[in-house]
Each structure stands twice: as structure tokens, then as C-alpha cells.
């Protein structure tokens, strides 16, 4: 399946700007498996495994681990610091 990934705020500085499409092997079905997969090609991506990293899936904040589906748009988020 294909997943569209964005990195927000401090993660963008480390992992890249813009939305990128990733074609994933069939055995990757949730967010945690995806993080492990991304880390294989980019050691920096290991930072995504930190429990404080949050996930926005298709414009909704979701809890991890989150199931993934073909065509999902995922945003990896550092802890929120508004207010």
C-alpha cells in the first residue's frame, strides 16, 4: 500500500520537508512497523519511535499504535507546545 508522510516542526528539520509517498511492503500494517521500516533507510527516523511523538492520520489525531490503510496521509508530530 501507499502512505503519504509529512514531518512537523522539529521533525521536519531533521527528516525533511513536504509530503512524500512511500510504497510499503504488505507486512507493514501499523504505525510502529512503519517507523521501523523508515528507520531502515534513514537512521534518523528512529526518533519517531519515541513515545512522545504523536500521529495525525487523515487529519485526525490518533493514538499509537495506529492501523494504516492504503492512501493514508500521516503526519509525525513532536509534542505540541501551543498556548
Amino acid at each position: 500500500m501507499q502512505i503519504h508522510i509529512r514531518y512537523m516542526a522539529a521533525l521536519r528539520d531533521r527528516l525533511g520537508d513536504g509530503e512524500t509517498a512511500h510504497d510499503l511492503p504488505a507486512d507493514i500494517t501499523d504505525s510502529e512497523a512503519l517507523i521501523a521500516h523508515l528507520t531502515r533507510s534513514d537512521a534518523e527516523a528512529a526518533a519517531l519511535a519515541a513515545p512522545e511523538i504523536r500521529l495525525i492520520r487523515n487529519d485526525r489525531i490518533v493514538t499509537r499504535p495506529s492501523a494504516l490503510a492504503d492512501g493514508d496521509r500521516l503526519a509525525f508530530c513532536p509534542p505540541f507546545t501551543g498556548g
Binding site: 516542526a9 485526525r60 501551543g82
Partner: protein, 156 residues
């Protein structure tokens, strides 16, 4: 945008927004508010607020609905600014009105504590020599968790 929620690049007219809440409902005896503003801190020159459009407004709207229902508020508003702000400028305005003071005061505390950790905003500090992202503070996480626990207890 959800009712009572505003996210804007333009400055927040806090006094005007508050005026619109006072003396509006004959059954309201109390209007409480909180203004968060850019604080001179170390070598900070300006603060830049990034957010996730759409998701932010929905998150703030959900917190507002929770507050209205839990404290039986008559009115509640959240106005958060994004983009670049100088020292002294308003980052966020939260206000609530209710028949009695405890409801209005607690609701405002709840809203500001929760929005800090539950709405997708990120603060970036600009200094003369560069910029850096603000790290989440343990005290903010604890304050937010306090309300989460309170509500979980009541719903149990």
C-alpha cells in the same frame, strides 16, 4: 471553523472579544479569561507558531465542547494566533462565562492547560543567531494530565 474557535495570523483583539462576552447573557454572573503573551526570555527576539490547519481548529473545538458540557458554560471562546509574534503580543485568548464564578474560572484553567498539549501547535524561538523549537515542559504535561484524570474520574 468550529463555533467559538479562531486561529489567525492577524493579532488577537482580546479586549474586543472580552467585551463581547460581558453583559451578554442575563444568567451569567461570571466571565473569566486568560491571555498568553510572548515573554522576553533569554535571547528571544520573536516567537513563531506553526500549526496543523484544520486539525488545530477541530482539537480546540473539542476542548471547548468538553468545557461547556462539564461546567455548564453559557459562552466559551478560544482564539489562538499563529505565525510570527514579537515580545508582548498576544498568543492566545481563552474566555468563559457561566452563572457562577467557580465554573468560569475552572473552565479557563482547563482550556489553557489542555490546549497546550492537545492542539497541534509548535513554538519556534527566533534569536539574533538563529532559531530553535521549544521543548514540551513536564509541568505542562502534568497540568494537562490532571484534567484528563479529573474527567476520567467523573465519567467513571
Amino acid at each position: 471553523m468550529p463555533l467559538g474557535i479562531q486561529v489567525s495570523v492577524e493579532p488577537i483583539a482580546a479586549a474586543e472579544r472580552l467585551s463581547a462576552l460581558t453583559g451578554q447573557s442575563p444568567h451569567d454572573g461570571a466571565v473569566a479569561s486568560f491571555v498568553g503573551q510572548v515573554r522576553a526570555d533569554g535571547d528571544l527576539v520573536a516567537l513563531e507558531l506553526e500549526h496543523y490547519p484544520g486539525v488545530t481548529e477541530a482539537a480546540l473545538g473539542a476542548l471547548r465542547e468538553q468545557a461547556i458540557s462539564r461546567w455548564s458554560l453559557s459562552q466559551a471562546i478560544i482564539h489562538h494566533r499563529v505565525g510570527r509574534m514579537e515580545i508582548g503580543e498576544t498568543i492566545v485568548l481563552v474566555a468563559a462565562s457561566a452563572p457562577h464564578r467557580r465554573a468560569a474560572l475552572e473552565a479557563v484553567s482547563f482550556l489553557i492547560d489542555r490546549l497546550k498539549t492537545e492542539a497541534p501547535f509548535w513554538k519556534c524561538v527566533h534569536t539574533a543567531s538563529g532559531r530553535h523549537w521549544v521543548e514540551a515542559r513536564d509541568s505542562d504535561t502534568a497540568a494537562s494530565q490532571y484534567w484528563r484524570d479529573q474527567i476520567a474520574q467523573e465519567d467513571a
